[in-house]
């Protein structure tokens, strides 16, 4: 229980005695694991989602190969002959990149016409638009923009190249003498990205160490504990799952947990040197944190352990990362860290935060129960709103896309009028029901263009279809629209809700449609898993509450645990819904980090508060002690992580930007909840009304 103070003197003595061996053991084990296991960092979550996509299975059953679709947008100041030739060159270069199947652009488009001079002719001609002079291209596309609007903007300054490939394509190596933007969300991070990510982390840690603790020991400890935890976690995950890959976002989860654990131990060692020698400070660092840090492990193990049986590798990997990193960080903090810190002492043990702690304690001791009830009721209403949205909207999280191309396939036996009619009906319904569908490109469109060039009359009979197909083959245009077993449909979206469109496509029954681009398949898998992931998160919250209730032997603490963990998540989901953020692995990881850190904070806060109350401290004094010993490390870790997350939004990689944005927002919400709601909830469930009546232990210990 929280009033027991473990006697760690002998333990610390042993650690000090074998400190060099302990440090060497951890370092060698970590280096060995790194060299032997060679973990493979991945920054794209596509593989995770695709591994459990039902749509992908359907697509693969048809022997369709998923394709990656990238979009290269080039901005030019003018469109003259020189620009045209350079853009043609880029088209050719793109077509010759490894793995590229097809590049759609104005420079791959064809002008279809019937050169009727005097007599009529049934000969349709096709002229690659790129062969026309630039002025004529501009005039022609301006006059007939419909087939080309997805490739060029009205002012002829922005050109789009849609690249279909078997693997993610990088364009950095190409010579593009214009400003350009390349969007390929599934592209992997480079070594440079990872180094930038590591550099940001190290810089923030060193800055924290200098500014708050006025030394470099804190940074050394933080970096070494984090590194060893990171390597240890992935080594254990590899031994359990056999998977060498780890998502970069998961490394952030491990870092957060490691920093969270580390700061409680380091901070106590640091401030204890104000009154004690370093050896006694080390003892206090361990014996005051041994229990609360240990309690985090069963809380996470019991609450998250059941989720490991869920048939989802994403859920398993995330929960496993959280549990293992927590256990490894605990081991490192009680063994490696004391061994390391035993070599040092601090010159400035005073931390100028006592006034802040008093301020918080003063404010919150006079909390208004009425306001608390209103806030809790409001949060409950938000939860109900989310629940209603979840049950009514299949795609809970909209995925608003600026410019995206989706590719679909429709199996066919024969291209006849009935098949074309079905595709046309699908296209019309898609356009009618969803805003933002710029263009639907299929064999129907090209056949109609060929027919119109041949015989511009209404009605489309079988003979005209056969003739259009004839010209399609004659000019080798069919490979963009037909392959051996399927008709291809390309949908261009601008400012559209891709989730809603995916739902429409998946539930469309009049035509067998298969998603074939990796982005849509991945997005579809996210939609499939939304309920499961949110349910698993909620069940984890309930389990955490139960376990906390058992540990503290109090239903009230269990309810505090549930509320304090759920509040940041509920408000974060509301934030995502309001700002139309998409559900991604990054968002889920941010939520999981929040659960991990909040559980840790609740236990440390509860431990410190009730321990102080048990030893006869007043409610206000207990709050001050809680803020000083548990609140400050919680604030520091939240601030450090918020700065790290915030700086990640400045990187080039979309995955890191998302983790950064989600993490920073959730960390802020969690911090506010920990500082303003959690202490008040603890006060609300505090039944030690009169401390004088409490049984006292024979030897009262210092909290």
């Amino acid at each position: 229980m929280y009033y027991h103070t473990p006697d760690t003197t002998r333990f610390i003595h042993t650690v000090r005695r074998f400190r060099a061996a302990i440090i060497a053991f951890f370092l060698l084990m970590s280096a060995g694991a790194l060299i032997v296991l060679k973990p493979e960092p991945v920054s794209s979550d596509t593989a995770f989602w695709l591994s459990e996509s039902k749509q992908l299975k359907k697509t693969q059953e048809q022997s369709y190969t998923p394709t990656y679709i990238g979009r290269l947008t080039i901005e030019t100041t003018s469109f003259d002959e020189g620009t045209k030739n350079t853009l043609r060159g880029i088209q050719t270069e793109l077509e010759h990149l490894d793995g590229v199947e097809q590049v759609e652009s104005l420079f791959s488009a064809t002008l279809l016409y019937n050169d009727q001079t005097g007599e009529e002719s049934a000969l349709v001609k096709a002229l690659p638009i790129a062969q026309m002079p630039s002025e004529k291209i501009a005039a022609f596309v301006t006059a007939f923009p419909e087939p080309y609007r997805r490739f060029v903007d009205n002012d002829f300054h922005r050109f789009h190249f849609v690249i279909h490939s078997h693997q993610p394509i990088r364009v950095e190596g190409m010579t593009i003498p214009f400003s350009y933007r390349y969007s390929e969300p599934t592209v992997e991070a480079t070594l440079g990205d990872y180094l930038a990510y590591a550099a940001i982390f190290v810089l923030v840690i060193v800055a924290m160490s200098r500014i708050l603790f006025r030394n470099y020991v804190a940074a050394l400890g933080a970096i070494s504990v984090t590194l060893i935890t990171l390597i240890g976690t992935f080594a254990l995950i590899y031994l359990i799952t056999g998977n060498k890959q780890f998502h970069i976002a998961m490394s952030l989860m491990v870092i957060s947990i490691a920093i969270g654990h580390y700061l409680y131990f380091y901070y106590r060692w640091h401030v204890s040197q104000f009154k004690n020698d370093p050896a006694r400070a080390l003892d206090k660092s361990v014996n005051r944190n041994l229990h609360p840090a240990l309690w985090t492990l069963p809380v996470l193990a019991i609450s998250l352990g059941s989720l490991l049986f869920i048939d989802s590798s994403i859920v398993k990997t995330m929960r496993l990362s959280l549990m293992i990193s927590s256990a490894v960080a605990y081991g490192v903090s009680i063994l490696f860290l004391p061994a390391l810190l035993s070599y040092f002492s601090v010159r400035h043990p005073k931390i100028g935060v006592a006034r802040v702690c008093y301020w918080f304690a003063n404010q919150e001791i006079h909390y208004s129960p009425k306001l608390l009830r209103i806030f809790m009721l409001f949060t409950l209403l938000v939860l109900i709103f989310i629940g209603i949205r979840l049950s009514t909207a299949p795609a809970l999280f909209g995925n608003e896309v600026a410019d995206t191309t989706m590719s679909l396939k429709v199996p066919f036996e024969e291209i006849d009028l009935a098949t074309l009619q079905k595709i046309e009906t699908f296209e019309n319904e898609l356009r009618t029901r969803h805003a933002g569908v710029v263009k639907v490109d299929s064999v129907v469109g090209i056949l109609k263009r060929l027919d119109m060039a041949n015989l511009p009359r209404n009605g489309f009979d079988e003979q005209r279809l056969l003739q259009a197909l004839f010209f399609l083959e004659l000019y080798d245009l069919e490979k963009s629209y037909i392959d051996e077993e399927a008709l291809k449909i390309t949908i261009t979206l601008k400012d559209a809700d891709q989730s809603a469109i995916l739902h429409f496509v998946e539930s469309y029954e009049a035509l067998p449609i298969y998603l074939t681009d990796v982005n849509s398949l991945s997005q579809s898998s996210k939609m499939e898993k939304t309920l499961l992931l949110i349910a698993s998160l909620l069940s984890a919250l309930v389990m955490i509450a139960l376990v906390m209730g058992v540990i503290f032997r109090s239903i009230g603490i269990g309810l505090v645990g549930l509320a304090a963990n759920a509040i940041p998540i509920i408000w974060f989901i509301l934030f995502m819904l309001l700002f139309r953020f998409e559900l991604s692995i990054e968002a889920l990881i941010a939520m999981t980090i929040s659960v991990g850190l909040s559980s840790d904070t609740i236990i440390h806060f509860g431990y410190k508060y009730f321990r102080s109350r048990y030893f006869g401290r007043s409610r206000k004094h207990s709050l001050e002690i809680m803020f000083f010993y548990a609140g400050v490390p919680a604030i520091i870790s939240a601030l450090v992580l918020m700065i790290v997350f915030g700086l990640l939004t400045l990187t080039e990689l979309q995955s890191l930007q998302l983790i950064g944005a989600y993490g920073a927002v959730l960390m802020l919400i969690s911090l506010l909840s920990d500082l303003f709601i959690l202490p008040v909830l603890l006060l609300a469930v505090d039944r030690h009304r009169n401390s004088r009546n409490l049984p006292r232990p024979s030897a009262p210990a210092n909290p």
């Binding site: 007599e119 002719s121 049934a122 000969l123 001609k125 003979q463 003739q467 004839f470 083959e473």
Partner: protein, 165 residues
């Protein structure tokens, strides 16, 4: 009163009849694919068959028409299209090109397809037939009769037969 009432009725009927008749003649819309096939299959004996594909394409061309020449040149240069389709080529004059004698000369030759390719793809000048070869005349007549019934006004004019599984 009676005359003014009958006059528009007469002209309206006249225009409707003329429109239907001309419409049918112009576009050959009245003939179904089955009817066209029934007309074309007996004509195959006069066709120059080019390509080995499974799908049949009946093509009416004028050897002097530039579009017809473009079309034949495209087929000639495109082995893939000769592998998918089998072309039944008929030479059918467009009056303004006055190619009757040239057509007769080609049909009178021993290798009409070879000669057609020489003229239309190779732009070779060949002497036009001075005296009518009765067999060539019969061929030209048969083709003209069927083309007329189908309503072939364009050159090239294509009729593609749907592949039967």
């Amino acid at each position: 009163m009676i005359r003014t009432a009958k006059f528009p009725t007469f002209w309206a009927t006249f225009f409707v009849v003329i429109t239907i008749a001309l419409g049918g003649r112009l576009y050959g819309a009245d003939l179904s694919m089955q009817q066209k096939k029934a007309l074309l299959e007996p004509l195959e004996k006069h066709a120059m068959v080019y390509g080995e594909g499974a799908k049949k394409v009946y093509v009416f061309v004028d050897p002097k028409c530039p579009h017809s020449r473009d079309f034949i040149a495209m087929i000639h240069e495109n082995a893939k299209m000769r592998g998918i389709y089998r072309y039944y080529i008929f030479l059918y004059e467009l009056k303004r090109f006055q190619s009757h004698n040239l057509i007769a000369s080609i049909y009178a030759s021993h290798t009409p397809l070879q000669r057609t390719l020489e003229v239309m793809v190779g732009h070779k000048e060949i002497p036009s037939a001075q005296s009518a070869d009765p067999k060539a005349a019969e061929t030209i007549g048969d083709i003209a009769r069927v083309a007329d019934e189908i309503g072939v006004l364009k050159r090239p004019y294509l009729i593609i037969v749907k592949e039967q599984n």
